[in-house]
Protein backbone atom coordinates (compact mmCIF):
# COMPACT_ATOMS: atom_id res chain seq x y z
CA UNK A 1 0.00 0.00 0.00
CA UNK A 2 1.51 3.34 -1.12
CA UNK A 3 0.73 6.00 1.47
CA UNK A 4 1.18 9.77 1.88
CA UNK A 5 1.37 11.15 5.42
CA UNK A 6 1.07 14.76 6.55
CA UNK A 7 0.83 16.83 9.71
CA UNK A 8 0.38 20.59 10.19
CA UNK A 9 -0.83 20.75 13.80
CA UNK A 10 2.40 22.18 15.24
CA UNK A 11 5.10 24.62 14.11
CA UNK A 12 6.50 21.72 12.10
CA UNK A 13 5.05 20.86 8.70
CA UNK A 14 5.89 17.21 8.04
CA UNK A 15 5.15 14.92 5.10
CA UNK A 16 6.31 11.49 3.95
CA UNK A 17 5.62 8.90 1.28
CA UNK A 18 6.18 5.21 1.84
CA UNK A 19 4.97 1.66 1.42
CA UNK A 20 3.34 -0.48 4.11
CA UNK A 21 3.09 -4.26 3.75
CA UNK A 22 2.02 -6.64 6.57
CA UNK A 23 2.99 -4.17 9.27
CA UNK A 24 6.39 -3.47 7.68
CA UNK A 25 7.22 0.03 6.54
CA UNK A 26 9.54 1.38 3.88
CA UNK A 27 9.90 5.17 3.86
CA UNK A 28 10.50 6.34 0.28
CA UNK A 29 10.83 10.07 0.99
CA UNK A 30 10.16 12.53 3.79
CA UNK A 31 10.43 16.28 4.31
CA UNK A 32 9.69 18.89 6.95
CA UNK A 33 9.51 22.66 7.17
CA UNK A 34 9.74 24.89 10.22
CA UNK A 35 8.97 28.10 8.30
CA UNK A 36 6.80 30.28 10.55
CA UNK A 37 3.28 30.65 9.15
CA UNK A 38 4.43 28.80 6.04
CA UNK A 39 2.25 25.68 6.34
CA UNK A 40 -0.71 26.96 4.33
CA UNK A 41 1.52 27.90 1.40
CA UNK A 42 3.93 24.98 1.56
CA UNK A 43 1.95 21.85 2.49
CA UNK A 44 0.80 20.82 -0.99
CA UNK A 45 4.04 21.80 -2.80
CA UNK A 46 6.01 19.79 -0.22
CA UNK A 47 3.65 16.81 -0.61
CA UNK A 48 4.13 17.02 -4.39
CA UNK A 49 7.90 17.22 -3.99
CA UNK A 50 7.99 14.21 -1.68
CA UNK A 51 5.89 12.20 -4.16
CA UNK A 52 8.33 13.12 -6.95
CA UNK A 53 11.36 12.17 -4.86
CA UNK A 54 9.69 8.84 -4.11
CA UNK A 55 8.88 8.30 -7.78
CA UNK A 56 5.17 8.18 -6.98
CA UNK A 57 2.41 9.91 -8.99
CA UNK A 58 -0.36 11.36 -6.79
CA UNK A 59 -2.69 9.00 -8.66
CA UNK A 60 -0.67 6.02 -7.37
CA UNK A 61 -1.46 6.80 -3.72
CA UNK A 62 -3.59 4.14 -2.03
CA UNK A 63 -4.13 5.86 1.31
CA UNK A 64 -3.53 9.08 3.22
CA UNK A 65 -2.46 9.27 6.86
CA UNK A 66 -3.14 12.61 8.52
CA UNK A 67 -2.22 14.04 11.90
CA UNK A 68 -5.43 15.44 13.38
CA UNK A 69 -3.97 17.35 16.32
CA UNK A 70 -4.54 18.51 18.94
CA UNK A 71 -2.46 21.59 18.23
CA UNK A 72 -2.81 24.93 16.51
CA UNK A 73 -6.45 25.36 15.40
CA UNK A 74 -5.69 26.94 12.05
CA UNK A 75 -2.73 24.66 11.44
CA UNK A 76 -4.49 21.39 12.13
CA UNK A 77 -7.24 22.27 9.65
CA UNK A 78 -4.78 22.61 6.76
CA UNK A 79 -3.68 18.97 6.63
CA UNK A 80 -7.12 17.61 7.49
CA UNK A 81 -8.82 19.66 4.72
CA UNK A 82 -6.12 18.67 2.24
CA UNK A 83 -6.24 14.98 3.16
CA UNK A 84 -10.04 14.83 2.87
CA UNK A 85 -9.93 16.64 -0.49
CA UNK A 86 -7.22 14.37 -1.91
CA UNK A 87 -9.07 11.28 -0.72
CA UNK A 88 -12.26 12.48 -2.44
CA UNK A 89 -10.44 12.86 -5.76
CA UNK A 90 -8.46 9.62 -5.50
CA UNK A 91 -11.16 7.50 -3.90
CA UNK A 92 -8.74 6.26 -1.23
CA UNK A 93 -9.17 5.83 2.54
CA UNK A 94 -7.84 8.21 5.20
CA UNK A 95 -6.31 7.30 8.54
CA UNK A 96 -6.64 10.04 11.20
CA UNK A 97 -3.86 9.76 13.79
CA UNK A 98 -3.19 11.79 16.94
CA UNK A 99 -0.41 14.30 16.32
CA UNK A 100 0.74 13.83 19.91
CA UNK A 101 1.15 10.10 19.40
CA UNK A 102 3.07 10.75 16.19
CA UNK A 103 5.35 13.16 18.09
CA UNK A 104 5.95 10.45 20.68
CA UNK A 105 6.82 7.88 18.01
CA UNK A 106 9.07 10.37 16.21
CA UNK A 107 10.92 11.17 19.44
CA UNK A 108 11.13 7.52 20.50
CA UNK A 109 11.50 5.14 17.53
CA UNK A 110 13.09 2.49 19.80
CA UNK A 111 11.90 -1.12 19.22
CA UNK A 112 13.91 -2.75 22.04
CA UNK A 113 12.93 -4.04 25.47
CA UNK A 114 13.71 -0.69 27.06
CA UNK A 115 10.78 0.78 28.98
CA UNK A 116 9.95 4.29 27.77
CA UNK A 117 7.56 6.78 29.32
CA UNK A 118 6.92 9.46 26.70
CA UNK A 119 5.02 12.73 27.14
CA UNK A 120 4.48 14.92 24.06
CA UNK A 121 3.39 18.49 24.85
CA UNK A 122 2.17 21.22 22.48
CA UNK A 123 1.74 24.68 23.95
CA UNK A 124 -1.92 25.74 24.31
CA UNK A 125 -1.47 29.26 25.76
CA UNK A 126 -2.03 30.41 29.36
CA UNK A 127 0.68 28.04 30.64
CA UNK A 128 -1.30 25.04 29.43
CA UNK A 129 -0.41 22.31 26.95
CA UNK A 130 -2.12 19.75 24.77
CA UNK A 131 -0.56 16.55 26.04
CA UNK A 132 -0.79 12.80 26.44
CA UNK A 133 1.18 10.09 28.23
CA UNK A 134 2.37 6.93 26.52
CA UNK A 135 4.40 3.87 27.51
CA UNK A 136 6.47 1.95 24.95
CA UNK A 137 8.26 -1.40 25.16
CA UNK A 138 9.32 -3.78 22.37
CA UNK A 139 8.02 -1.17 19.96
CA UNK A 140 4.48 -1.50 21.34
CA UNK A 141 2.68 1.61 22.54
CA UNK A 142 0.19 1.81 25.39
CA UNK A 143 -1.79 4.99 26.12
CA UNK A 144 -1.69 5.97 29.80
CA UNK A 145 -3.38 9.36 29.43
CA UNK A 146 -5.49 10.35 26.42
CA UNK A 147 -4.98 13.65 24.58
CA UNK A 148 -6.24 16.67 26.49
CA UNK A 149 -5.36 20.14 27.77
CA UNK A 150 -3.81 20.63 31.21
CA UNK A 151 -1.53 23.17 32.90
CA UNK A 152 2.09 22.28 32.13
CA UNK A 153 2.86 21.88 35.84
CA UNK A 154 0.07 19.31 36.16
CA UNK A 155 1.38 17.35 33.17
CA UNK A 156 4.78 17.25 34.85
CA UNK A 157 3.44 15.83 38.09
CA UNK A 158 1.29 13.31 36.19
CA UNK A 159 4.45 12.12 34.50
CA UNK A 160 6.16 11.77 37.87
CA UNK A 161 3.22 9.66 39.16
CA UNK A 162 3.23 7.47 36.06
CA UNK A 163 6.99 6.95 36.36
CA UNK A 164 6.59 5.85 39.99
CA UNK A 165 3.88 3.32 39.07
CA UNK A 166 5.82 1.91 36.16
CA UNK A 167 8.91 1.47 38.36
CA UNK A 168 7.30 -1.31 40.44
CA UNK A 169 7.79 -4.47 38.33
CA UNK A 170 10.63 -3.58 35.99
CA UNK A 171 12.58 -0.66 37.38
CA UNK A 172 12.23 3.02 36.47
CA UNK A 173 11.30 3.80 32.87
CA UNK A 174 13.30 6.06 30.59
CA UNK A 175 11.41 9.34 30.68
CA UNK A 176 11.20 11.48 27.56
CA UNK A 177 9.41 14.75 26.96
CA UNK A 178 9.02 16.18 23.47
CA UNK A 179 7.61 19.70 23.29
CA UNK A 180 7.36 22.92 21.29
CA UNK A 181 7.94 25.22 24.28
CA UNK A 182 9.83 28.47 23.90
CA UNK A 183 11.46 30.66 26.53
CA UNK A 184 8.65 33.21 26.02
CA UNK A 185 5.99 30.68 27.10
CA UNK A 186 7.40 30.81 30.68
CA UNK A 187 6.67 27.14 31.36
CA UNK A 188 10.15 25.63 31.03
CA UNK A 189 10.76 25.64 34.82
CA UNK A 190 7.55 23.65 35.29
CA UNK A 191 9.02 20.84 33.20
CA UNK A 192 11.68 20.32 35.90
CA UNK A 193 9.05 18.63 38.11
CA UNK A 194 8.96 15.80 35.57
CA UNK A 195 11.49 12.97 36.01
CA UNK A 196 13.15 14.03 32.81
CA UNK A 197 15.91 11.95 31.23
CA UNK A 198 15.70 13.40 27.76
CA UNK A 199 13.98 16.43 26.29
CA UNK A 200 13.46 16.47 22.54
CA UNK A 201 12.45 19.86 21.18
CA UNK A 202 10.02 19.93 18.26
CA UNK A 203 12.72 21.03 15.82
CA UNK A 204 14.64 17.83 16.56
CA UNK A 205 11.70 15.51 15.87
CA UNK A 206 10.03 17.42 13.00
CA UNK A 207 11.85 15.52 10.26
CA UNK A 208 10.78 12.20 11.77
CA UNK A 209 7.12 13.09 12.14
CA UNK A 210 6.04 12.02 8.63
CA UNK A 211 7.76 8.61 8.89
CA UNK A 212 6.38 8.21 12.44
CA UNK A 213 2.84 8.58 11.08
CA UNK A 214 3.65 5.85 8.57
CA UNK A 215 4.92 3.48 11.29
CA UNK A 216 1.87 4.12 13.48
CA UNK A 217 -0.40 3.45 10.50
CA UNK A 218 1.39 0.16 9.78
CA UNK A 219 1.08 -0.80 13.43
CA UNK A 220 -2.70 -0.37 13.25
CA UNK A 221 -2.76 2.66 15.54
CA UNK A 222 -6.14 3.87 14.26
CA UNK A 223 -9.02 2.87 12.01
CA UNK A 224 -9.01 3.65 8.31
CA UNK A 225 -12.03 5.68 7.17
CA UNK A 226 -13.43 4.81 3.78
CA UNK A 227 -15.96 6.30 1.35
CA UNK A 228 -18.48 8.58 3.05
CA UNK A 229 -16.73 8.12 6.40
CA UNK A 230 -13.92 10.35 5.09
CA UNK A 231 -16.29 13.35 5.06
CA UNK A 232 -16.77 12.96 8.81
CA UNK A 233 -13.10 13.34 9.73
CA UNK A 234 -12.51 16.45 11.81
CA UNK A 235 -9.49 17.79 13.67
CA UNK A 236 -9.09 16.97 17.34
CA UNK A 237 -9.35 20.51 18.75
CA UNK A 238 -8.93 19.73 22.44
CA UNK A 239 -10.58 23.00 23.46
CA UNK A 240 -14.08 24.39 22.97
CA UNK A 241 -14.48 27.72 21.14
CA UNK A 242 -14.40 30.57 23.67
CA UNK A 243 -17.61 32.16 22.32
CA UNK A 244 -19.42 28.84 22.81
CA UNK A 245 -18.16 28.51 26.37
CA UNK A 246 -19.35 32.04 27.16
CA UNK A 247 -22.73 31.36 25.58
CA UNK A 248 -23.16 28.24 27.74
CA UNK A 249 -22.19 30.24 30.84
CA UNK A 250 -24.69 32.97 29.94
CA UNK A 251 -27.40 30.33 29.50
CA UNK A 252 -26.49 28.95 32.93
CA UNK A 253 -27.06 32.41 34.40
CA UNK A 254 -30.41 32.63 32.67
CA UNK A 255 -29.53 34.97 29.79
CA UNK A 256 -30.55 33.79 26.36
CA UNK A 257 -28.05 35.78 24.37
CA UNK A 258 -24.70 37.47 24.87
Amino acid sequence: MVVLTMDTATDALSVAVGRMEDGAVEVAAAAASLVQRGHSRLLQPLAMQVCQTAGVEPGDLEGIVVGVGPGSYTGVRLAVSTAKAMALVLGVPVLPVSTLWALAEAACPDQTAASWLVMPLVYARRRRAFGALYHKRFGVWRTLEEERVRPVGEWSSRMADAAAHLSEPEGPPLCLVTDDFRESHHVLPELSIAPLHTRAPLAAVAGGLGPALLRLAAAGAATWRRGDEVHEIEPMYGLAVEAEVKLEEAKGRGHGQL
Binding site: S40, R41, L42, L43, Q44, P45, A47, M48, P58, G59, L61, Y73, T74, R77, L78, A79, V80, S81, T82, A83, K84, A85, M86, A87, L88, V89, L90, V230, H231, E232, E234, P235, Y237, V241, E242, A243, E244, L247, Q257, L258
Partner: protein
Amino acid sequence: MNGLLLLGIETSCDETAAAIVRDGRVVLAESIASQMDVHARFGGVVPEVASRRHVAVVTRVVADTLSQAGLAFAELDGIAVTYGPGLLGALLVGVSAAKGMALASGLPLVGVHHIAGHVAAALLADEADAGARLPALALVVSGGHTEILRVDERFGFTRLGGTIDDAAGEAYDKVARLLGLAYPGGPKLDQLALTGNPEAYAFPRSLIDAPNFDFSFSGLKTAVANELNRRRQRGEAVDIADVAASFQQAVCDVLVEKTARAVAATGLHRVVVAGGVAANQGLRRALAERAEADGFTVVFPPRRLCTDNAAMIAAAGYFAMRRGLRHDLHLNAHATVSLADWQCGRVV
Protein backbone atom coordinates in the same frame (compact mmCIF):
# COMPACT_ATOMS: atom_id res chain seq x y z
CA MET B 1 -18.78 20.53 -27.40
CA ASN B 2 -19.08 20.46 -23.65
CA GLY B 3 -17.46 23.81 -22.96
CA LEU B 4 -15.09 24.38 -20.04
CA LEU B 5 -16.28 23.00 -16.73
CA LEU B 6 -15.00 24.66 -13.56
CA LEU B 7 -15.53 23.54 -9.99
CA GLY B 8 -15.93 26.54 -7.66
CA ILE B 9 -15.33 26.48 -3.90
CA GLU B 10 -16.28 29.28 -1.49
CA THR B 11 -15.54 29.37 2.27
CA SER B 12 -14.73 33.04 2.92
CA CYS B 13 -17.31 33.63 5.66
CA ASP B 14 -20.22 31.54 6.92
CA GLU B 15 -21.30 29.55 3.85
CA THR B 16 -19.51 26.41 2.66
CA ALA B 17 -20.34 26.15 -1.02
CA ALA B 18 -19.38 24.26 -4.17
CA ALA B 19 -20.68 24.57 -7.72
CA ILE B 20 -19.91 23.47 -11.26
CA VAL B 21 -20.30 26.10 -13.98
CA ARG B 22 -19.91 25.75 -17.75
CA ASP B 23 -18.08 28.53 -19.64
CA GLY B 24 -18.62 30.99 -16.79
CA ARG B 25 -22.32 31.25 -17.65
CA VAL B 26 -24.32 28.11 -16.99
CA VAL B 27 -24.68 26.62 -13.50
CA LEU B 28 -24.76 22.82 -13.78
CA ALA B 29 -24.92 22.01 -10.08
CA GLU B 30 -24.47 23.67 -6.71
CA SER B 31 -24.44 22.70 -3.08
CA ILE B 32 -24.30 24.99 -0.08
CA ALA B 33 -24.08 24.37 3.65
CA SER B 34 -25.20 27.52 5.42
CA GLN B 35 -24.05 28.25 8.96
CA MET B 36 -26.55 31.07 9.46
CA ASP B 37 -28.34 29.25 12.31
CA VAL B 38 -25.07 28.32 13.98
CA HIS B 39 -23.98 31.97 14.20
CA ALA B 40 -27.41 33.48 14.95
CA ARG B 41 -26.95 32.29 18.56
CA PHE B 42 -23.90 34.53 18.87
CA GLY B 43 -25.44 37.56 17.17
CA GLY B 44 -22.72 37.50 14.50
CA VAL B 45 -20.22 35.27 12.76
CA VAL B 46 -17.68 33.71 15.13
CA PRO B 47 -14.57 33.03 12.99
CA GLU B 48 -13.36 29.92 14.84
CA VAL B 49 -16.85 28.37 14.77
CA ALA B 50 -17.08 29.13 11.04
CA SER B 51 -13.71 27.54 10.32
CA ARG B 52 -14.61 24.38 12.22
CA ARG B 53 -17.86 24.02 10.29
CA HIS B 54 -16.07 24.50 6.97
CA VAL B 55 -13.69 21.59 7.67
CA ALA B 56 -16.59 19.39 8.71
CA VAL B 57 -18.57 19.86 5.49
CA VAL B 58 -16.22 21.05 2.74
CA THR B 59 -15.68 17.71 0.96
CA ARG B 60 -19.33 16.76 1.32
CA VAL B 61 -20.58 19.84 -0.57
CA VAL B 62 -18.08 19.11 -3.34
CA ALA B 63 -19.14 15.45 -3.52
CA ASP B 64 -22.83 16.47 -3.59
CA THR B 65 -22.16 18.92 -6.42
CA LEU B 66 -20.31 16.33 -8.51
CA SER B 67 -23.02 13.74 -8.06
CA GLN B 68 -25.77 16.26 -8.90
CA ALA B 69 -23.95 17.07 -12.12
CA GLY B 70 -23.21 13.40 -12.76
CA LEU B 71 -19.54 14.27 -13.26
CA ALA B 72 -16.22 12.87 -12.08
CA PHE B 73 -13.13 14.96 -11.31
CA ALA B 74 -11.52 13.68 -14.50
CA GLU B 75 -14.26 15.38 -16.55
CA LEU B 76 -13.60 18.84 -15.06
CA ASP B 77 -11.29 21.44 -16.60
CA GLY B 78 -10.24 23.38 -13.53
CA ILE B 79 -10.77 24.36 -9.90
CA ALA B 80 -11.55 27.92 -8.73
CA VAL B 81 -11.45 28.86 -5.06
CA THR B 82 -12.01 32.08 -3.10
CA TYR B 83 -8.58 33.09 -1.75
CA GLY B 84 -9.58 36.48 -0.29
CA PRO B 85 -10.71 38.81 1.08
CA GLY B 86 -12.54 37.24 4.01
CA LEU B 87 -11.99 35.50 7.34
CA LEU B 88 -8.49 34.06 7.13
CA GLY B 89 -9.16 30.80 8.99
CA ALA B 90 -12.29 30.19 6.94
CA LEU B 91 -10.58 30.99 3.61
CA LEU B 92 -7.72 28.61 4.48
CA VAL B 93 -10.06 25.62 4.62
CA GLY B 94 -11.32 26.19 1.08
CA VAL B 95 -7.87 27.00 -0.29
CA SER B 96 -6.34 23.90 1.37
CA ALA B 97 -9.10 21.67 0.03
CA ALA B 98 -8.82 23.17 -3.46
CA LYS B 99 -5.05 22.72 -3.47
CA GLY B 100 -5.47 19.11 -2.27
CA MET B 101 -7.88 18.48 -5.14
CA ALA B 102 -5.55 20.13 -7.65
CA LEU B 103 -2.60 18.09 -6.37
CA ALA B 104 -4.52 14.81 -6.54
CA SER B 105 -6.19 15.44 -9.90
CA GLY B 106 -3.60 17.52 -11.75
CA LEU B 107 -6.36 20.02 -12.66
CA PRO B 108 -5.44 23.71 -13.16
CA LEU B 109 -6.11 25.92 -10.15
CA VAL B 110 -7.13 29.56 -9.90
CA GLY B 111 -7.58 31.64 -6.75
CA VAL B 112 -10.52 34.05 -7.06
CA HIS B 113 -11.08 37.49 -5.50
CA HIS B 114 -14.36 37.33 -3.60
CA ILE B 115 -15.63 40.65 -5.03
CA ALA B 116 -14.87 39.56 -8.59
CA GLY B 117 -17.02 36.56 -7.71
CA HIS B 118 -19.94 38.77 -6.69
CA VAL B 119 -19.66 40.67 -9.98
CA ALA B 120 -19.54 37.39 -11.95
CA ALA B 121 -22.84 36.39 -10.31
CA ALA B 122 -24.51 38.98 -12.55
CA LEU B 123 -23.00 37.33 -15.63
CA LEU B 124 -24.48 33.92 -14.83
CA ALA B 125 -27.44 32.86 -16.92
CA ASP B 126 -30.73 32.72 -15.12
CA GLU B 127 -33.83 30.81 -16.25
CA ALA B 128 -35.16 34.21 -17.37
CA ASP B 129 -32.20 35.55 -19.37
CA ALA B 130 -28.62 34.98 -20.44
CA GLY B 131 -26.96 37.16 -17.80
CA ALA B 132 -25.26 40.51 -18.18
CA ARG B 133 -22.62 41.24 -20.81
CA LEU B 134 -19.37 43.16 -20.45
CA PRO B 135 -18.12 45.87 -20.39
CA ALA B 136 -20.18 47.26 -17.53
CA LEU B 137 -20.05 49.26 -14.35
CA ALA B 138 -20.36 47.26 -11.17
CA LEU B 139 -21.85 48.53 -7.94
CA VAL B 140 -20.71 46.10 -5.25
CA VAL B 141 -22.67 46.38 -2.01
CA SER B 142 -22.28 43.85 0.77
CA GLY B 143 -21.55 43.52 4.47
CA GLY B 144 -17.85 44.05 3.79
CA HIS B 145 -17.77 46.17 0.63
CA THR B 146 -19.24 49.19 -1.12
CA GLU B 147 -17.44 49.92 -4.35
CA ILE B 148 -18.00 51.20 -7.87
CA LEU B 149 -15.90 49.32 -10.41
CA ARG B 150 -15.42 49.48 -14.12
CA VAL B 151 -15.29 45.99 -15.64
CA ASP B 152 -13.86 45.69 -19.15
CA GLU B 153 -14.90 43.11 -21.74
CA ARG B 154 -12.15 40.75 -20.57
CA PHE B 155 -13.26 40.85 -16.91
CA GLY B 156 -10.53 43.33 -15.95
CA PHE B 157 -11.33 45.66 -13.05
CA THR B 158 -10.68 49.36 -12.46
CA ARG B 159 -11.82 50.77 -9.12
CA LEU B 160 -13.58 54.14 -9.44
CA GLY B 161 -14.30 54.58 -5.75
CA GLY B 162 -15.63 53.00 -2.60
CA THR B 163 -16.48 53.44 1.03
CA ILE B 164 -13.97 55.23 3.23
CA ASP B 165 -15.40 53.72 6.42
CA ASP B 166 -18.34 51.32 6.89
CA ALA B 167 -19.70 49.19 4.07
CA ALA B 168 -23.38 49.69 3.21
CA GLY B 169 -24.28 46.21 4.48
CA GLU B 170 -22.39 46.89 7.69
CA ALA B 171 -24.45 50.07 8.21
CA TYR B 172 -27.62 48.02 7.62
CA ASP B 173 -26.58 45.47 10.25
CA LYS B 174 -25.56 48.14 12.79
CA VAL B 175 -28.78 50.14 12.38
CA ALA B 176 -30.82 46.92 12.52
CA ARG B 177 -29.18 46.22 15.88
CA LEU B 178 -30.05 49.75 17.08
CA LEU B 179 -33.65 49.01 16.14
CA GLY B 180 -33.60 45.73 18.04
CA LEU B 181 -33.84 43.49 14.98
CA ALA B 182 -32.24 40.05 15.45
CA TYR B 183 -29.11 39.03 13.52
CA PRO B 184 -28.85 39.03 10.55
CA GLY B 185 -30.76 42.31 10.62
CA GLY B 186 -30.10 43.73 7.13
CA PRO B 187 -32.87 41.84 5.29
CA LYS B 188 -35.28 42.43 8.21
CA LEU B 189 -34.60 46.17 8.06
CA ASP B 190 -35.26 46.13 4.30
CA GLN B 191 -38.61 44.43 4.97
CA LEU B 192 -39.52 46.86 7.74
CA ALA B 193 -38.66 49.89 5.55
CA LEU B 194 -41.43 48.90 3.13
CA THR B 195 -44.03 49.88 5.72
CA GLY B 196 -42.42 53.14 6.92
CA ASN B 197 -42.30 56.75 5.76
CA PRO B 198 -38.93 57.46 4.06
CA GLU B 199 -39.30 61.19 4.68
CA ALA B 200 -40.01 60.98 8.41
CA TYR B 201 -36.37 61.66 9.34
CA ALA B 202 -33.77 63.69 7.46
CA PHE B 203 -30.66 61.53 7.84
CA PRO B 204 -27.40 62.73 6.24
CA ARG B 205 -26.33 61.75 2.73
CA SER B 206 -22.57 61.87 3.31
CA LEU B 207 -20.30 62.74 0.36
CA ILE B 208 -23.28 62.93 -2.00
CA ASP B 209 -21.95 66.20 -3.45
CA ALA B 210 -18.27 65.20 -3.41
CA PRO B 211 -16.82 65.07 -6.93
CA ASN B 212 -15.72 61.42 -6.66
CA PHE B 213 -17.18 57.93 -6.32
CA ASP B 214 -16.47 57.46 -2.63
CA PHE B 215 -18.98 56.68 0.11
CA SER B 216 -19.18 57.15 3.87
CA PHE B 217 -21.80 55.44 6.00
CA SER B 218 -20.50 55.68 9.57
CA GLY B 219 -21.97 59.19 10.04
CA LEU B 220 -25.35 57.91 8.94
CA LYS B 221 -25.30 55.15 11.53
CA THR B 222 -24.31 57.69 14.22
CA ALA B 223 -27.12 60.03 13.13
CA VAL B 224 -29.65 57.21 13.55
CA ALA B 225 -28.26 56.37 16.99
CA ASN B 226 -28.40 60.03 18.08
CA GLU B 227 -31.95 60.45 16.83
CA LEU B 228 -33.09 57.34 18.70
CA ASN B 229 -31.39 58.52 21.91
CA ARG B 230 -32.86 62.01 21.67
CA ARG B 231 -36.40 60.69 21.23
CA ARG B 232 -36.04 58.18 24.04
CA GLN B 233 -34.69 60.82 26.42
CA ARG B 234 -37.67 63.03 25.67
CA GLY B 235 -39.91 60.04 26.23
CA GLU B 236 -41.20 60.22 22.67
CA ALA B 237 -42.35 57.12 20.86
CA VAL B 238 -40.24 56.00 17.91
CA ASP B 239 -41.82 54.38 14.89
CA ILE B 240 -38.99 52.04 13.93
CA ALA B 241 -40.55 51.44 10.49
CA ASP B 242 -40.14 55.19 9.79
CA VAL B 243 -36.54 55.10 11.00
CA ALA B 244 -35.85 52.05 8.81
CA ALA B 245 -37.46 53.66 5.76
CA SER B 246 -35.66 56.98 6.25
CA PHE B 247 -32.31 55.24 6.79
CA GLN B 248 -32.81 53.07 3.71
CA GLN B 249 -33.73 56.14 1.65
CA ALA B 250 -30.53 57.91 2.70
CA VAL B 251 -28.39 54.88 1.75
CA CYS B 252 -30.17 54.38 -1.57
CA ASP B 253 -30.00 58.08 -2.50
CA VAL B 254 -26.21 58.06 -2.21
CA LEU B 255 -25.71 54.71 -3.94
CA VAL B 256 -28.02 55.66 -6.80
CA GLU B 257 -26.63 59.17 -7.26
CA LYS B 258 -23.00 58.03 -7.40
CA THR B 259 -23.85 55.15 -9.73
CA ALA B 260 -25.72 57.45 -12.10
CA ARG B 261 -22.78 59.84 -12.10
CA ALA B 262 -20.37 56.98 -12.85
CA VAL B 263 -22.54 56.09 -15.85
CA ALA B 264 -22.31 59.68 -17.08
CA ALA B 265 -18.55 59.87 -16.43
CA THR B 266 -17.61 56.60 -18.14
CA GLY B 267 -20.22 56.39 -20.86
CA LEU B 268 -20.91 52.80 -19.83
CA HIS B 269 -24.65 52.32 -19.96
CA ARG B 270 -24.82 48.95 -18.31
CA VAL B 271 -24.67 48.59 -14.52
CA VAL B 272 -24.48 45.30 -12.66
CA VAL B 273 -25.27 45.30 -8.97
CA ALA B 274 -23.54 42.67 -6.86
CA GLY B 275 -23.18 41.55 -3.26
CA GLY B 276 -25.58 40.72 -0.46
CA VAL B 277 -27.23 44.16 -0.44
CA ALA B 278 -28.09 43.67 -4.14
CA ALA B 279 -30.96 41.56 -2.82
CA ASN B 280 -32.33 44.66 -1.05
CA GLN B 281 -35.76 45.57 -2.44
CA GLY B 282 -35.47 49.28 -1.70
CA LEU B 283 -32.19 49.53 -3.59
CA ARG B 284 -33.49 47.48 -6.52
CA ARG B 285 -36.48 49.77 -6.93
CA ALA B 286 -34.54 53.02 -6.54
CA LEU B 287 -31.85 51.97 -9.04
CA ALA B 288 -34.40 50.68 -11.55
CA GLU B 289 -36.28 54.02 -11.44
CA ARG B 290 -33.12 56.05 -11.94
CA ALA B 291 -31.95 53.76 -14.77
CA GLU B 292 -35.28 54.28 -16.50
CA ALA B 293 -35.06 58.06 -16.08
CA ASP B 294 -31.39 58.35 -17.14
CA GLY B 295 -31.52 55.74 -19.87
CA PHE B 296 -29.09 53.09 -18.64
CA THR B 297 -29.72 49.41 -17.94
CA VAL B 298 -29.24 47.83 -14.55
CA VAL B 299 -28.81 44.09 -14.00
CA PHE B 300 -29.34 42.39 -10.68
CA PRO B 301 -28.18 38.81 -10.19
CA PRO B 302 -30.89 36.33 -9.28
CA ARG B 303 -31.56 36.85 -5.57
CA ARG B 304 -30.13 33.46 -4.54
CA LEU B 305 -26.82 34.40 -6.22
CA CYS B 306 -26.51 37.73 -4.37
CA THR B 307 -25.37 36.11 -1.14
CA ASP B 308 -22.10 34.16 -0.99
CA ASN B 309 -22.12 31.12 -3.28
CA ALA B 310 -19.68 29.04 -5.29
CA ALA B 311 -21.27 29.42 -8.74
CA MET B 312 -20.07 33.02 -8.81
CA ILE B 313 -16.55 31.86 -7.87
CA ALA B 314 -16.49 29.26 -10.64
CA ALA B 315 -17.73 31.91 -13.11
CA ALA B 316 -15.13 34.48 -12.01
CA GLY B 317 -12.47 31.74 -12.12
CA TYR B 318 -13.41 30.95 -15.71
CA PHE B 319 -13.11 34.57 -16.86
CA ALA B 320 -9.85 35.03 -14.89
CA MET B 321 -8.36 31.87 -16.42
CA ARG B 322 -9.30 33.13 -19.87
CA ARG B 323 -7.30 36.26 -19.09
CA GLY B 324 -4.39 33.94 -18.34
CA LEU B 325 -4.52 33.88 -14.55
CA ARG B 326 -3.42 30.56 -13.07
CA HIS B 327 -2.01 29.59 -9.68
CA ASP B 328 0.23 26.76 -8.56
CA LEU B 329 0.14 24.77 -5.31
CA HIS B 330 1.77 27.66 -3.42
CA LEU B 331 -1.51 29.64 -3.52
CA ASN B 332 -2.28 31.12 -0.09
CA ALA B 333 -5.35 32.72 1.52
CA HIS B 334 -5.45 36.47 2.27
CA ALA B 335 -7.76 38.26 4.69
CA THR B 336 -7.31 41.42 2.64
CA VAL B 337 -6.29 41.68 -1.01
CA SER B 338 -7.21 44.27 -3.61
CA LEU B 339 -8.80 43.50 -6.96
CA ALA B 340 -5.81 45.11 -8.65
CA ASP B 341 -3.31 42.89 -6.84
CA TRP B 342 -5.41 39.82 -7.63
CA GLN B 343 -5.95 40.35 -11.32
CA CYS B 344 -2.31 41.04 -12.16
CA GLY B 345 -1.14 38.09 -10.05
CA ARG B 346 0.78 40.27 -7.57
CA VAL B 347 -0.68 38.61 -4.46
CA VAL B 348 -0.88 34.80 -4.49
